[in-house]
Amino acid sequence: MDIDLITNVLYAMVRTGTPLLIVALGELVCERSGVLNLGQEGMMLMGAVVGFIVTLTTGSLLLGFILAIVAGMLMSMLFAAIALGLNANQVATGLALTIFGTGLSAFIGAAYVGTPITGLEPIAIPYLSEIPLIGKMLFAQDLVVYLSFGLFGLVFWFFKSSRLGLTVKAVGENPHAANSLGLPVMRTRYLAVAFGGGMAGLAGGYLSLAYTPLWAENMTAGRGWIALALVVFATWRADRIIFGAYLFGLASILNLVVQGLGYPVSPNLLAMMPYAATVLVLVMISSNVMKSKMYTPMWLGKPFHPHT
């Protein structure tokens, strides 16, 4: 294996891992507040399609990304209205969001399938991007990848040292205790869900505006679900999420590596890799029952109603 191939694999690994990282960070905040939103896939798709259409019609990538985030947030508020406002089952509501988002995005995007746009271009930072092996991976990416580094730092700091981060954790561990301490349980949860929605929208926008600058039905291909598994894999810790996201990025581009090395393996079998890796990782992480119980936010997925 030559050094160029490794450099390129590392570059593609981060690029492919970026949407996973962004969604998973959003879902981490959401789950830490005790809310399990299985609608990631639906929110991502809406972000992807809205971002794409906006950029196509206005020519502005920035506007595309902003409205992708807004679309994700609006979708997450639909979830919040039913799952938090009406105390509905979070698993079922999340599934509904995914089914609805898949349908709605396919519906409004039907006229745009196959239309090409100029996507977000990478920006190589002078000198730094020429560092052997890791230079291209860290310093020759596009702006959203750099932004994702910042978002990772933000979420990491948020849970490590911020007061609001502590509130989110308290609300997710025991909302009744948090409520009696005067913490705004519901408001915190709404905000956490909205943050998760915005991140999912951004990740979706990244797919349709930078990663593969086009719109295709269902183009997220299960990334929202993989991100959910990633949060479990990371035992609800931000630092492990970044590691996991790039690991999955690597699994997803394995087909390029294998093709690069000249092995004749079916593309359909290689396409299974990220999903198979997800199952494998879930199995490894969950098998220690005591440990996974310890890490999971105590109130995850359970509705909170002050009167009950």
Partner: protein, 362 residues
């Protein structure tokens, strides 16, 4: 907030039956508004969506063709959901069922035996059942969350199917199209009404609904499933074998979804194609909830869901709408159902009493 939720002392039975009807009505209403937005006459559009597809015998036959796989998947899911096992993998179990059934049917291309069809269907059930069992095993042995594993298995199943349809199952005389050879007549489900595609799969679905009904309401295993779902600690105290029950419900729901897949291959499609399911396995999740996990409810909800599929296809032709309108309506229906379900456990009150309460206190 203007509205305030107040817990009912006891879950309202009436509301649990009314909620699906209310959700259906709200979906209809939103659908009408949605069509107005698109510049169609809402009444006319809804007629095309919900009435026109079943106006004649052929339409009724197509309704049964679509309802059969949905009903099979949904009744299986109901068993799993009742036990609080969140099997989201009916789609993958259906695909693997179709794949396994095709594997056998392609070996029997030259065979004209009565046993060909039962063999094809049974291998579909076996394939789907084992695919479901795999997720149960991962949950029991490794504590892996079945929602995520079954979703992942859906994707893996899809790529497995594509691998075979593009590979060894591809018809050598098929001009390179990714599809298997047409199955032999002896491997195909007999047609019920002549000149339509309505096959005996719908009878299997009805039979499954009845069997599951009896199982859930009359058998000891059904009782165990219900106790497990209502209170897993009570099930443990009663000495029910939790892990075995999880395995059983996953095999049942997997096998029924597998039968649905086999029935698609041996039914309307007559071969294995990549698009063997237009999301029946996901639609079945909605059907299971809409039917209140009850066999009778699932029967009616499956017919409604089949109608939405047909309506989407007709709307594509007559109103020039994208086919995605189907999953849009499906998602909307589930949202409304979940929202209406709040009335089962809560009373909604308008938030006025603050002033009066303050007055009384002072």
């Amino acid at each position: 907030m203007f509205l305030k939720l107040e817990p009912r002392g006891e879950a309202s039975r009436a509301m649990s039956y009314l909620s699906p009807l209310l959700a259906g009505l709200l979906t209809l209403l939103s659908g009408g508004i949605f069509f107005v937005f698109l510049g169609h006459d809402p009444i006319d559009a809804l007629r095309i969506f919900l009435v026109a597809p079943v106006e004649d015998l052929y339409g009724f036959a197509e309704l049964c063709v679509k309802a059969a796989p949905i009903m099979l998947c949904a009744i299986g899911l109901a068993v799993a959901f009742k036990a609080q096992v969140w099997n989201i993998g009916a789609e993958g179990q259906l695909l693997i069922g179709g794949l396994a059934a095709s594997a056998v049917a392609l070996q029997l291309l030259e065979v004209e035996s009565f046993w060909a069809l039962p063999l094809v269907l049974l291998s579909g059930m076996l394939g789907g059942g084992l695919w479901g069992l795999l997720a149960a095993w991962l949950r029991n042995r490794f504590n892996a969350n079945e929602i995520l594993t079954t979703i992942m298995f859906n994707y893996i199943a899809l790529y497995l199917l594509l691998y075979f349809v593009h590979g060894s199952f591809k018809d050598p005389d098929g001009y390179g199209f990714p599809a298997s050879a047409i199955f032999a007549d002896s491997s195909l489900l007999p047609i019920l009404i002549e000149d339509t595609r309505m096959h005996i799969g719908i009878l299997f679905a009805l039979l499954a609904v009845v069997i599951i009904w009896v199982m859930l309401s009359r058998s000891f295993i059904g009782f165990q499933i219900k106790v497990l779902g209502l209170d897993s600690n009570a099930a443990k105290l009663a000495g029910f074998k939790h892990k075995r029950l999880v395995a059983v419900v996953m095999i049942i729901s997997g096998a029924l979804a597998g039968l649905a897949g086999a029935g698609e291959g041996a039914g309307p499609l007559e071969q294995l194609v990549p698009s063997i399911s237009p999301g029946y396995g996901y639609a079945a999740i909605i059907v299971a909830f809409l039917g209140r996990l009850h066999p009778v409810g699932i029967f009616f909800a499956s017919l409604l869901m089949a109608l939405i599929y047909l309506g989407g296809e007709l709307a594509q032709i007559e109103l020039n709408l994208p086919l995605a309108v189907t999953s849009l309506f499906q998602g909307m229906l589930l949202f409304y159902l979940l929202a209406c379900d709040v009335f089962i456990n809560f009373k909604v009150k308008f938030n006025r009493p603050q002033i009066s309460a303050t007055l009384e206190n002072s």
